[in-house]
Subunit: 230 residues, 2 copies
């Protein structure tokens, strides 16, 4: 594996820096997800609900180790690569702290979906090895079934809940976009990916627009799968 840092696109320091940034952001994102989902599990109405949400939390964390290991090949200190993203990711969670169990479930499903879609889109512009690593950290089909089923149950029992959660989903999307823009503006290497440069030739401003259109479309589909309007 180490060899792959000394040939191909990784000989370009801009590319290498951008990948370190991207993996740092993903790695800290998984750490923060464990912490926040575990906090949110305290709001579970039943012990079985709590255990299901804690299961989602620990599966997020299991994805940290492959990211850390790859960062250790690319830099001296994998944790230092994560640190620049602590503030933005913690801010996202502070601004989207759920008020109850239902908001926690929407965040676990919809919030995680937005983030996964974003990284999946970006990974399409990267080398094969990095793409495979990133895709392996994304949430698998079926992992969020628990959240979807419990939300449908809750919304069926209390129709007013639907209106509140529709607004909540919109807020999650807004905060995710805001924090992504902050990160892109403050991290040159991350901005390189998002702005499109010679290194990331496939991704120009029009391409970026298309990415956000696709992410938004999938967000609306997820909300609709819960019976909620965007």
């Amino acid at each position: 594996m180490v060899a792959s840092t000394e040939q191909g696109p990784f000989t370009d320091p801009v590319y290498r820096g951008a990948i370190v940034d991207l993996l740092g952001a993903i790695g800290y994102g998984e750490i923060a997800a464990l912490e926040r989902l575990t906090d949110d599990a305290a709001m579970a109405p039943r012990l079985s609900d709590k255990v299901a949400l804690l299961g989602m939390a620990t599966r997020q964390y299991a994805k940290v180790e492959p990211i850390r290991a790859r960062l250790a090949e690319l830099t001296d200190n994998p944790f230092a690569a994560m640190e620049p993203f602590i503030e933005a990711i913690d801010s996202f969670h502070a601004f989207t702290a759920p008020h109850d169990w239902w908001e926690a479930l929407v965040k676990a499903y919809v919030g995680d979906g937005i983030v996964s879609d974003f990284y999946r889109e970006i990974s399409g512009y990267l080398d094969e090895e990095t793409r495979a690593l990133i895709v392996s950290t994304l949430t698998d089909e079926g992992e969020t079934d628990f959240a979807i089923e419990r939300l449908r149950e809750g919304i069926a029992e209390d129709p007013r809940l639907g209106g509140r959660l529709a607004l909540w989903g919109r807020r999650l999307m807004g905060e995710a976009l805001t924090q992504t823009q902050h990160v892109a503006a403050s991290r040159e290497a991350m901005g390189e990916i998002l702005a499109g440069t010679a290194t990331f030739g496939g991704l120009d401003l029009a391409g970026l627009g298309e990415i956000f259109t696709r992410i938004t479309t999938r967000h609306i589909e997820r909300m609709a799968s819960l019976g909620l309007e965007h």
Copy 2:
């Protein structure tokens, strides 16, 4: 596996009830451990420290599923089997909430050690299958190395820390004993194990005394391995 609930000691409802209680207590204990260690990780001075403590937390949680699966063979509702222990285990954690990173590490190492020793001792009086299951949930050799190394570092840097942590370790031991007694007094089946009956013939009051002597001895050894007096 199901067959083993319909023969041997499991035909005795007292034995079966006691095992359901014991596994319920262990299962909820692992759930609470994930929650508390994750909370405590917020006090980590470095991101690498946080990730190490979160690693300990998620390894605890990985042990819930085998317990839940076995409880599902023995009862209709595995989570209902855990519920009687929520109050005592949550009280233990409320009375032993660490004030800083160092107290959190002592609790992760010493507190977990006491609990593991207790269940290991009890498991010696049970059927082979239950014993193997319980032993598989206990903390392995090496899993707490991180806590030991960091504590030695911290105590070497600030000798006054040692005095405070010695008292803290004593408090953890006291609270663990207190909560164990509460549980034994309030749960008839659990009391059966700890008091010794026809079903648990090997364990009488003298045997129980020896168990607590051995648990205390190992606690003192762990404190000594940190350079702390009990």
